[in-house]
């Protein structure tokens, strides 16, 4: 991976990916997994697909920019600041872990995605502890981590499909 140049095309690409991530977040909010799995904060993490994609296609910096834009705009749309803390901490943790895991070249997209999903839940848990001011919510973490194995595999699968479909397309220069 070489550093992405901030050409007009690439900035536009970031904007499209941000919009896509926001769209996916909205989509999964319409079909909450928490109805099936009664845990607070359970999510499919579809927006994570965009993060994974951006991380590999564009690099860490653009992926972070997209993440910040997605969290900021998302909480603006939802109209609440505590949601910003949740999505930001979750997203940042996922991002940092995935940047790290990406360096293990032997890991496939699944490993990276699972690590990101687990880290996302840990970040959200930290946000919950900060907001609620007590650590009782930690009791949910083991279950959330278990769920993140499934959601991480799922988003990894979708991302793999995506990369396969785009095997001969190069987006950034």
């Amino acid at each position: 991976m070489t550093d992405m140049k901030w050409t007009t095309k690439n900035i536009a690409l970031c904007a499209v990916l941000t919009a896509l991530a926001l769209g996916l977040s909205t989509l999964e909010n319409m079909f909450p997994v928490s109805l099936a799995v009664p845990l607070p904060g359970v999510k499919l993490g579809l927006a994570n697909i965009v993060t994974v994609f951006a991380l590999y296609e564009l690099g860490a910096v653009p992926a972070l920019v997209i993440l910040f834009a997605r969290c900021g705009l998302g909480s603006l749309f939802a109209g609440n600041v505590s949601a910003l803390l949740f999505s930001m901490l979750g997203g940042l943790c996922a991002m940092l872990v995935m940047i790290g895991l990406k360096h293990c070249r032997k890991l496939s997209i699944y490993g990276v995605s699972i690590g990101g999903a687990a880290a996302h839940n840990i970040g959200q848990m930290a946000a919950a502890i900060i907001t609620l001011g007590n650590t009782m919510v930690l009791g949910y973490l083991p279950f959330l981590l278990a769920v993140s194995l499934i959601t991480g595999t799922l988003t990894g699968f979708v991302a793999a499909l995506l990369f396969r479909a785009m095997a001969h397309v190069t987006l950034s220069h």
Partner: protein, 133 residues
């Protein structure tokens, strides 16, 4: 057009399994750290203190009674596995004897003259945190 060299492996492999295992291990570790203490304290415990010092801490089911002397007074404490009571005391007020049986976590028998407290401790229960009156 060529494939982007930074693109990831797309097939599940054994290194992914390591990441998955680590996540499972972390989940188990957090679960143990969080839930184990609660399970261990699940049983009702008899705690006796005299003159501000804890003198005995036994599971209610293992407790068969004892005699405690403090401040010049002696209390005979009896138990039957379900509850604890003071069967005899040479203290002047006899409040401890009159308190009768205590059976639930959170309850206590207090003997003011002897400065002896018999308290039932337990896990998270529906009982009150503090009793006034």
């Amino acid at each position: 057009m060529s494939t982007n060299p930074s693109r990831p492996e797309l097939k599940w492999n054994r290194y992914d399994a390591i990441v998955a295992t680590l996540v499972v291990l972390l989940a188990v570790a957090v679960a143990l750290w969080f839930y184990l203490p609660k399970l261990q304290s699940g049983e009702t415990t008899v705690v006796i203190s005299a003159g501000g010092q804890e003198t005995e801490r036994v599971r209610l089911s293992d407790f068969s009674g004892t005699t405690v002397t403090c401040n010049g007074y002696t209390l005979q404490i009896d138990a039957d596995g379900d509850g604890v009571w003071v069967s005899h005391s040479d203290c002047p007020t006899q409040d401890c004897v009159h308190t009768g049986h205590i059976t639930r976590a959170g309850q206590s028998i207090v003997c003011l003259p002897a400065q002896i407290i018999i308290h039932l401790e337990g896990a998270a229960n529906d009982g009150p945190d503090v009793i006034v009156g």
